[in-house]
């Protein structure tokens, strides 16, 4: 019974930690859905936004809410610049070229963030403790961190919001049209520029939220960029163009890596969660390259 309870705890902890990956993956999906661009700089955006947020709050003593709004506005500016100076000139370039440009963009953002706000690890206190919730610990005998639960709730809210946006609003319809065929969409009068700006800003704000969650747990530091890389296997499992996929993928990665780490890791000296998600992604790629919820990729000669 204890074994089962422990297993449950590991799984639940993994699932909730997985929602953090989902939050990062969500930013990727947003941009991919609207522009068929793999935004490799999403991890850097997470780092940049949350470091800016911390910088505003700690260096200038700006109150929490105002600092959050300012950081969000900053991400809109970043989105604006990206659209104008990176994406527009690369409108007709191949996928791989745009991907490499976004790697460059990631470098720029990482460098700028560190030049502006320093390289030392900052603590981010959201007022939510990273310790087990007593009520759940007493009643269900599961030790689950309050921060994990908050991250789960935030992720759920954002998913629902974005899902509704994509499904039921005119903007969402425009976004989907642009993703399907940018040329056709612009020829029927969908403002491509605005759509791109909107989607990059939205991805920036998602990055900020993800960064806050990660920052509160691990401290705001450069390692966030590497953590955000784990959103890539999440996307492969969930599918690049699916918002629910990002969530499910995150949950699968989170739970699997924790279970593997706890039950199999000790035989190999631990720390297998560093690569287990990627290997899992390879197996998914071999059997279902488009991911669980992705659209099948058809290539024509």
């Amino acid at each position: 019974m204890d074994g089962l309870l422990f297993f449950m705890e590991v799984v639940v902890g993994g699932l909730l930690a997985g929602t953090m990956y989902s939050l990062v993956a969500l930013g990727f999906v947003l941009i991919f859905k609207a522009s068929a661009t793999f935004n490799f700089s999403q991890g850097a955006m997470v780092f940049f936004s949350v470091l800016a947020f911390c910088g505003f709050m700690q260096d200038f003593n700006i109150p929490f809410v105002l600092a959050f709004i300012m950081a969000a506005l900053l991400m809109v500016v970043v989105g604006l610049c990206t659209e104008r100076f990176v994406l527009r000139p690369l409108m007709n370039a191949s996928e791989d070229t745009v991907l490499m440009a976004t790697i460059g963009l990631g470098y720029v953002l990482e460098g700028l963030a560190q030049a502006a706000w320093g390289v030392e690890v900052r603590r981010l206190d959201l007022g939510i403790g990273d310790f087990p919730v007593p009520w759940i610990a007493d009643n269900l005998k599961l030790f689950i961190s309050a921060l994990d639960i908050t991250a789960g709730l935030v992720a759920a809210l954002m998913i629902i919001g974005l899902f509704l946006l994509f499904k039921y609003t005119k903007i969402g319809l425009g976004l989907r049209a642009v993703a399907d065929d940018a040329g056709a969409a612009s020829s029927i009068g969908i403002p491509l520029k605005h759509i791109m700006l909107l989607v990059w800003s939205a991805a920036g704000v998602v990055a900020l939220v993800a960064g806050c969650m990660w920052g509160a747990r691990a401290g705001v530091q450069f390692a966030l960029v590497d953590l955000a890389l784990k959103a890539l296997p999440v996307l492969i499992i969930g599918g690049f163009s699916s918002i629910p996929g990002a969530i499910i993928g995150g949950l699968i990665i989170g739970a699997t890596e924790k279970v593997l780490e706890v039950y199999i890791g000790p035989f190999f000296g631990g720390a297998i969660e560093g690569w287990a998600p990627y290997v899992l992604a390879i197996f998914f790629l071999l059997y279902r390259p488009e991911g669980l919820f992705g659209e099948k990729i058809i290539r024509r000669v």
Partner: protein, 358 residues
């Protein structure tokens, strides 16, 4: 298919001789400071070799891979263990076998390339990066059960002669790099490279022309990993002089990716140009920071600025010259050459006009 080898033109042979004289005669006679060897020439050649590996898989075969440092780690630690456990092999023997071991990893992690491409493949190759470094870190055998985590590399001894001075190490590297570069150029020009490029440009079309995707891709990954493995071993034994898995982290992979892209995809000389740029630019920036601003700018800020500039260059090159600095160099050469010849003709003409008067 019968392999085709390309013959070298007169120009190639002249270039080769000039470079050899430069590398083996001029540099050793005129550069006496150790700094140049230990901090610039040695790492430059090692990283250029790894970049050639990256070029083969990315520039020539068009497969987006991001795990060069993982293969370098495999090569470095394989070389350490071979010298330690099989001393009969000698240094060059160990170097070749460690390259082959890295190639085996390359084949294993290159297999997903048969099914996926683009960023999907990038994620699959990231697995190799993290897995190899983790494996070396966690299994004590690879590190000879050294608890400190950092192992000193053995001295390079060839036929009983120790090669420990920076100049001697430099000469070894020049030797290895020259052979491997010539091989790479020949492969790239011959049927092997033609197949790679056919797969890069349109894999489905290449397949219908009778190019085996399985063979071509796996071959590219294996050769690429071989180059990275040898480069990693040289890097650890001559530049780092120690072995630690952390030295081969994802940052090094990104660095090699940048060298490859900024240098120029699908060119061998681009690998050298890119490696030189990425390696020398921080040195330049630091000296500007120290000499112009007299240390008024913090070192961390300088390294951040360096990162921003690399990123910006990447974006600018992607927009204006996706083929990188090698292409830029070609364009400059092509623009200058006619001007030079016309200048020559003018000089000749004027001298001819002057001559009859005499």
């Amino acid at each position: 298919m019968k392999p085709v080898f390309m013959t070298y033109t007169k120009n190639d042979i002249i270039n080769f001789c000039v470079l050899m004289v430069l590398g083996l005669v001029i540099i050793p006679t005129f550069i006496k400071t150790e700094y140049w060897y230990t901090s610039i020439l040695i790492p430059w050649l090692c990283l250029a070799l790894a970049t050639i590996g990256q070029q083969i898989v990315m520039g020539y075969t068009g497969q987006l891979a991001l795990g060069a440092a993982g293969f370098m780690a495999a090569g470095a630690f394989a070389c350490f263990n071979l010298i330690l456990r099989v001393p009969e092999l000698g240094f060059f023997g160990s170097l070749i076998v460690s390259g082959l071991i890295a190639a085996a990893f390359g084949i294993l992690f290159g297999l997903p390339s048969l099914k996926v491409r683009g960023i999907y493949l990038m994620v699959a190759t990231l697995a190799s990066q993290f897995f190899i470094v983790w494996m070396i870190d966690k299994f004590g055998w690879f590190k000879n059960y050294d608890s400190s985590g950092i192992i000193t590399a053995q001295d390079i001894v060839i036929l009983g002669v120790p090669f420990t001075t920076p100049l001697a190490m430099y000469l070894i590297i020049v030797f290895v790099v020259t052979i491997l570069t010539l091989l790479a150029m020949n492969m790239a020009r011959g049927s092997t490279g033609r197949n790679w490029m056919a797969v890069r440009d349109m894999d489905i079309a290449a397949e219908s022309m009778g190019v085996s995707l399985l063979r071509t891709k796996v071959q590219a990954f294996a050769i690429s990993a071989f180059y990275c493995g040898v480069a990693g071993a040289l890097f650890a034994f001559t530049y780092l002089k120690s072995l630690e898995p952390v030295a081969f982290d994802i940052k090094l992979s990104f660095k090699i990716l940048f060298m490859c892209i900024l240098g120029g995809l699908g060119t061998i000389n681009g690998a050298y140009i890119g490696a030189a740029f990425i390696l020398l630019f921080p040195v330049l920036l630091n000296s500007v920071g120290n000499n112009v601003f007299h240390g008024a700018i913090d070192a961390t800020i300088i390294s951040s600025i360096e990162q921003v500039i690399f990123g910006l260059l990447m974006i600018v090159f992607m927009i204006y010259e996706p083929l990188g600095m090698a292409k830029l160099w070609e364009t400059i050469k092509q623009n200058i050459r006619p001007k030079l010849t016309s200048l020559n003709i003018k000089i000749l003409k004027s001298s001819k006009v002057k001559n009859p008067k005499k």
